[in-house]
Symmetry: C2
């Protein structure tokens, strides 16, 4: 699949880029600056090999014609980022918003959360994209360090929410291509009000135990993925 990762030079975005390009998807790393994107692509190729299917572009160019656009930017930059890309998003595009509304956006702590007016950053994202673009919330809880450790599987489940079942399945197919990761359908987009709050919870756990990559597995069913 062709996947753009907007804000793809950050820890979370570049980790996802490594994993998805490593699985054979054609990844475009988007950044505010082309030079930053190019540096990130060079670093990824160093790890994956020179022929890895990964390229870079400025954010607005990165998303053109991509059926899946993953947005991994800090909350403070979310609105400006969507303003940059919204005109390039075609109806049907699946936008995966991974924004966690941390209080760092206002100079606070990453173990404290903010509450966006729309209820969640994902619902805020949905208010910023053209009609017909399908917003899915996912990847908030996946530790960047776990994504970057290519020598081992990712021991985490991805909590996915959204109002369009097909869009969730498409994102789920990407998740399934990363060794170890499974996806769990958590319900409609408004459930992002909860899943986005799990990032500060994991930050609090990391802080308490002095570790870097706590994450979630969901129990109670042998397999997850698409509900029957």
């Amino acid at each position: 699949m062709d996947v753009a990762i907007v804000g793809g030079t950050g820890n979370e975005g570049s980790g996802l880029g490594l994993r998805l390009a490593g699985a054979g998807h054609r990844v475009t790393i988007g950044s505010r600056e082309a030079a930053k994107a190019a540096a990130s692509v060079a670093a990824a190729r160093e790890r994956l090999g020179d022929d890895a299917p990964i390229d870079g572009a400025e954010n607005p160019d990165a998303v053109v014609g991509r059926p899946i656009v993953i947005v991994t930017v800090p909350f403070a930059g979310q609105v400006a980022t969507y303003a940059q890309i919204r005109d390039r998003l075609e109806p049907g595009t699946v936008v995966v918003d991974a924004t966690s509304p941390l209080q760092t956006a206002i100079g606070g702590r990453p173990w404290h959360a903010l509450r966006p007016w729309q209820g969640s950053a994902a619902e805020l994202a949905a208010s910023l994209v053209p009609d017909g673009v399908r917003v899915v919330g996912a990847f908030h809880t996946v530790a960047a360090a776990a994504l970057a450790a290519l020598d081992r599987p990712v021991d985490e489940d991805v909590l996915v929410c959204g109002d369009d079942d097909d869009a969730k399945r498409l994102v789920g197919a990407l998740v399934d291509d990363v060794p170890g990761m499974r996806w769990v359908d958590c319900g409609p987009l408004e459930v992002a009000r909860i899943t986005e709050q799990l990032t500060p919870l994991l930050v609090s756990i990391n802080r308490r135990y002095r570790i870097k990559e706590s994450g979630f597995r969901i129990t109670g069913r042998d397999a997850w993925g698409a509900p029957a």
Copy 2:
């Protein structure tokens, strides 16, 4: 240990009672009505044997002299319950609040949450108990069905938060006595603002997959329990 379970006739409370009495702790099931408590105790003895260390009492009597008091009541009854027991709680008592502020309290849905004025039901509880009583938030995400299935271990971690490390360790020791369960120190009591919101998330997942006992495991560390 001597443990009172206030609201212990509900699904969550009686499941905890079964597991803790089964592990050899002396459990007192508290209820608004002595007859209900007695019926719950009889049902527990039917499963655990007649000599199981489990008794019943009205809520205010159940907590007297107990070093650990677990409160498992619906959000709608939380304030009234604390009003019933608060005069019987001695300084040093560990009160484990398991209240999830679900919108069912106002006739709404269990996959929607309310936000208490204090930030969380656990912080609301802390405002209702005498000085010196140590409030810990825990057990919100543990499925009642998993607790009641005594023939198998509980495949879930317990998210524990609170401002007193010793109190968390005491609760953690109870958790460790239930086969399969581990406890994760999530930080100060205010983190209950997040952990309590995980109940509606699990309800949403259960609903989506038509199951009854989704739960959490935390990854990123081989062992949990007390941080070093």
